[in-house]
Structure formats: C-alpha cells, structure tokens
C-alpha cells in the first residue's frame, strides 16, 4: 500500500512538471543525476551514443556559451564547449561537452525545433556525449532532469548486490541469517540501476533508496535535487547528504548508523529507478548480546 502510494505520488509529480522535451532524438543515458563522478555528484544526466544534433529542452534565451579553445585567457572547463539557456519560471538548462564550434551563438532566442549544437567530446568527456543540467535559479538548486523530461521506457529493475555491515572491526558482507553482535553498526550497499541503449547496459544511479529495519522506514534517499549547504553540495534539502557522506565507492552507498538490539532483526532495502521499477533485498539477521 505504502509503495503504491509512493509510486502514485512519483507519477503525479512527474506529470505536473512534465514540461520539457528531450534535447536529442535517441536517448541513451550513461550517467544519472546524483551519481558519483570525480568525487562529486553528477548534477545532470549524461547522454551517450552516436553524435546527434541537440535542441533546447524548451523555448529560451541564450545566457552563456563557451567555445573550447577560442581564447587561452579563458578559465579551463571540464564542460568543454557548452551553452546555457534561460527558460520560464527561473529555469535554466546547460548543455555540455558539445562538439567544438557546433554551438549557434548568433541565435539569442531559441525554439523547440532549433538546433543549438551537436554532441561532442570536449572538456572532460571521454567519448561522444551530452551533459545536460536543469537548474532552478529561484531556489538555487539543480533539479534531476528526469523529473522534467518525458518518461523513458525502462524494463529493468535496480540491482542490490552486496550489503555491508560496518563496525569497528571493519567491513563485512552480510548474508541472510547472519549472526552479529548487538550495538551500533553502519550499513552500506552496492546498488546500481541499469540503463539500456546503444546495444549495452550501462550502470547508473537509482532514483531512490529506502531502508527499513523491522518494518520501520529509517532512511529515504531521493535523487531529486542538489543544493549548496555549508559550502557543500547536498542531496535533499531537509536532511542533506553530501557526496562524501553518501558514497563509499562509485556504487557503494552508505545508508547510515543504526543501533541493533538483541533478537531477530529484519533489514529491508528497497531501491527504485525513475520509471518506478523496484529492486528489494531482505535480510533476516540474528543479533546476539
């Protein structure tokens, strides 16, 4: 019941802000919002595959562009050749790693059918791609672009590989039925979603992670927006999780510290992707004195 409600809310929220168009025709997601890359959260989505022309996600006005390599006096940029447009309601979109010289800098106002550039491999890109960001300038936050774009067909559910117990003695894999000592323990899990396109599956970040212990929902991590708090980029505005707090490795998510009391303990991890596919892993544990 609870899961259905969450899914319904997710669909409603998607529909309500379902305003923009995909900037390319063939969408192959290779990195998702909130993923760990270069010890930072990915602040948008990366679209891979063959090079394609790019259109703006909405009508807008050119705010800023940078053509890689045109002046040695410009600051270096991992975004390579990139362009930023202003849309309605304080929303801006950024298109990075474009083909050098492909951006149309003369056209200040753009429409949905206009070509604004072409996917490339400038900046820190290691292959042909488009790095797309959606920024809410009024609330000074990065929004998961998937919340603003048409839903993609996705038939695969997120994968939860190993789950780890972190104690003073170190990190150990936990298996169902494992006997552990009571006390405060940390939990982390190897989690990834899979994005299919261009003939292969690409590991990407999920959209939400929840942890239940004995049925009590103790952790909810949603990859909806990123905001600055205390000089750090954080996921979720209320609780606020920084990159270093969340990631122990590229795909290992730290879920927090919990007090486990003696007895039978049921640990449940639920992971959803943006399309609502859910992966669940349940561990009955025996906690001893």
């Amino acid at each position: 019941m609870k899961l259905n409600l969450v899914y319904l809310l997710l669909v409603i929220s998607c529909v309500s802000v379902y305003a923009f168009q995909w900037p390319v025709e063939d969408v192959v997601i290779i990195s998702t919002f909130g993923e760990s890359e270069d010890n930072q959260f990915v602040k948008g989505v990366d679209i891979g595959g063959d090079s394609q022309d790019i259109s703006p996600i909405d009508q807008g006005e050119l705010v800023f562009y940078s053509n890689q390599g045109t002046s040695p006096l410009d600051i270096p940029s991992g975004l390579g050749t990139y362009v930023i447009y202003q849309h309605k309601n304080g929303i801006r979109s950024l298109y990075g790693c474009l083909e050098a010289g492909s951006i149309n800098t003369n056209q200040k106002q753009v429409d949905l059918s206009d070509t604004i550039g072409r996917m490339g491999s400038t900046g820190s890109a290691v292959g042909t791609m488009l790095h797309l960001q959606v920024i809410d300038t009024e609330f000074e936050k990065y929004i998961n672009p998937l919340l603003t774009l048409p839903l993609l067909v996705d038939g695969s559910k997120p994968i939860i590989d190993e789950v780890y117990l972190i104690t003073e003695e170190g990190k150990q894999v936990i298996n169902p039925g494992k006997i552990i000592k009571s006390g405060v323990v940390g939990l982390s899990a190897d989690i990834r979603d899979l994005s299919y396109g261009a003939g292969y599956y690409c590991p990407v970040s999920p959209f939400s992670i929840s942890l239940f212990i004995n049925g009590e929902n103790l952790v909810n991590i949603n990859f909806e927006s990123l905001k600055i708090k205390d000089n750090k980029m954080i996921l979720q505005e209320l609780e606020g999780i920084s990159h270093d707090e969340l990631y122990r490795d590229k795909w290992e998510f730290y879920l927090g510290e919990f007090e486990l009391n003696p007895g039978d303990v049921m640990v449940e991890i639920s992971v959803k992707d943006f399309a609502g596919n859910e992966g669940v892993k349940i561990f009955p544990l025996k906690v001893m004195e």
Partner: protein, 350 residues
C-alpha cells in the same frame, strides 16, 4: 612699429602652440633580434642567468629567456597551468595532478580531480563541472575550497584576493584564508550572470561585466562597508561569453574584452575608451600609464597584433600569419609567438 611686429609674431607663435599644440604621435620601432622555431629549438636546461618567462604556444609549453634561449619545453598533453614558478601539465581526466618547477622537476602532487589554473602567483583547481574552486599551496594541500550553486565563469586572483564570478549573477572576493571578503548578486538586469571580472592588485577596485538587458561594466571601489559601485556603463553590443578583464600593471587602468571592442578604463577619471577588435583576445600586455598596450587576437581571418595607447588611440594594426599567438614584454624586450615561431624584438618608442 618694429616692437609691435615682433610682438605680433610672438603672439602668433604662442597662440599657435596654445591652440594647436598637441602631443606628437608615438613612433615605435620593433627591431627583430632573433627567431626560434619550436620544432627545432634546443633546450638549455638551467643554463641561463636570466629568470625565464613561461610560455604556451601551439601545443607546446615551457620557459624561455628574452634572448631566445629555451630552458624547458614539453608537448602539451591536454592542458597546462603555468607561471613563473612552475607548472602542472594535465590530461583530459586526472586523479592526481603533479606540480613541477620551471626545470620540470617534481615538486608535489595534488589529489584532486579537476583542471589546474594559475592566477596572481597562486594555484587553483577548478572542478570539471565548474562548481568548485580549491586553492592549493606549495606543498600540494588544499588551503580552502568553495562550492557554488552555479557554474563558475571567472577566477582571477591577486596575491591577496580572488575574484570568482558565477553564471547566476553572483560574484565573490575570497581572501587568502578562504574567507568571503565580499560578495554580491546582481539582480538589476533581465538576465543575471557574471561574464567577467577582476580585482586590482591592492584590492581597492573590482571590475565586473554582468547581466543581459542591460549588460553593465561596473567599477567598484573599496569603502568601510566593503565595496560600492563607483561608475557603470551599459554595453550596447552585449556579449554572452566570458569577457577577459584585468588591471594594468601600475593599477591605473583596467581593460574589458567586449564583443568587437576592447574597453580601456582610466580608473581615476572613470573614463572608458574604446578600441575596435574582432574575434577573441589571445594575449594582452598592459604595463600602464604612458606605455603601449599590445594585444594579439584571433578572428575568422586569422591572427592580428594591435598596439594602442591608453587613450584608445590605435598606433598600429597588423595581420599575422598563423592561428595561435602569445606576447611577452619585459621592459623594451618583446617576444612575439606565432604558431611554432618565437620572435624576439627590441622595442624603441619615440
């Protein structure tokens, strides 16, 4: 009668000099001294008595003296941050950055991902997504780190302050301890963004280029509360890319690279002079009052070199055959780089 005649002649002379008297135009002579081809140049490591200047040109970087002697040279991997104290050569993606001295000797490593950037004799690393700047000290550790809620459009430093501009219209001055000495978010234009900016060496002035509709060049001066706008000018032909800005070496002037224009600002008079340029700036040398400003740039037709007075008066303009340029001046010694060629000149002005 004779006295009247003599007096009349003197009066005519005096009147002439008062009315028509003006400064004679500059006459500059560039005497070529040497040419060095980077493809065939010999590298004389640590064999020079002069302190070499850093250079980056056409896929190569290194150090050279004003007699043309190259003391260190390497091929560019992907990029290089280089100044008179050392360099960091970097590839497209790096987990570790290596700081080397002017002879290429290993000094330290920096465990940060991003691209290094040197300014004002200081070392910074800008994250790939341009949301974070870290200052690095000589032993490779992070002195401070600032994360921003929008892309960084400008980083420009003096030994005591760093100007950081963002695409959301915010700019900040960070002191050497990493504390925010001043910050401001422009909200006076229809679209807010910082396109360029810098701070003067003594920290008395800030120069910003910000906004669309209107786009403003603003000169800020320091007061007891921080900084306030002394003067601002609206730019007719708005630019939507990075605007290179800076102060002259003597701090009396500033320059702003606009769209098809280079503005020279006389700070004390708050007077903006304009010079027509095309394309993008590749280098600018601006010693200050009474000195010639040299600019190299590139447009669709190729390279050019311009020499101008601080009044904006253009002394000469010449096209150069090539695509990449650099310009170094040390007193009357000039090094002009065009693609693989470095040419040394003596400059004589009358």
């Amino acid at each position: 009668m004779k006295v009247i005649k003599r007096f009349s002649v003197m009066l005519i002379f005096i009147t002439y000099f008062f009315v028509f008297g003006q400064q004679l135009p500059y006459e500059i002579t560039y005497i070529p001294l040497w040419v060095e081809d980077l493809k065939m140049a010999d590298v004389v490591v640590g064999n020079s008595e002069q302190s070499p200047e850093s250079f980056r040109l056409n896929g190569k970087y290194g150090y050279l003296c004003n007699n043309g002697e190259i003391t260190y040279m390497e091929d560019l991997l992907y990029g290089v941050a280089i100044d008179g104290n050392g360099f960091i050569s970097y590839s497209r993606q790096n987990d570790v950055l290596v700081i080397r001295d002017i002879d290429g000797r290993f000094l330290n490593t920096i465990e940060l991902t991003g691209y290094p950037f040197f300014s004002g004799d200081r070392r910074f690393v800008i994250s790939y997504d341009k949301n974070q700047v870290s200052e690095i000290n000589n032993i490779g550790t992070v002195v401070w780190q600032k994360t921003f809620s929008s892309s960084i459009t400008e980083v420009s430093a003096t030994p005591s302050l760093v100007f950081i501009g963002n695409v959301d219209g915010k700019f900040s001055l960070i002191d050497s301890m990493g504390e925010v000495a001043f910050s401001y978010t422009a909200k006076t234009s229809r679209i807010n963004a910082v396109y360029g900016g810098s701070v003067s060496e003594n920290g008395d002035y800030i120069l910003t280029v910000s906004g669309i509709d209107p786009q403003l060049i603003s000169l800020w001066s320091k007061n007891s509360d921080g900084y306030r706008v002394d003067a601002s000018w609206s730019i007719d032909k708005e630019l939507r890319r990075h605007a290179v800005t800076g102060f002259s070496e003597d701090g009396l002037f500033a320059f702003i690279e606009a769209e098809d224009e280079l503005f020279i600002l006389e700070i004390r008079k708050a007077k903006l002079n304009s010079v027509k340029i095309t394309g993008r700036l590749q280098s600018i040398n601006f010693p200050g009052s009474g000195e010639i400003v040299h600019v190299t740039g590139r447009d669709e037709d190729g390279l050019y070199l311009i020499a101008i007075e601080t009044s904006g008066n253009q002394l000469f303009y010449t096209r150069l055959a090539g695509t990449n340029s650099m310009f170094i001046r040390d007193q009357n010694k000039i090094i002009l780089g065009i693609d693989n060629k470095l040419i040394g000149f003596d400059m004589e002005s009358m």
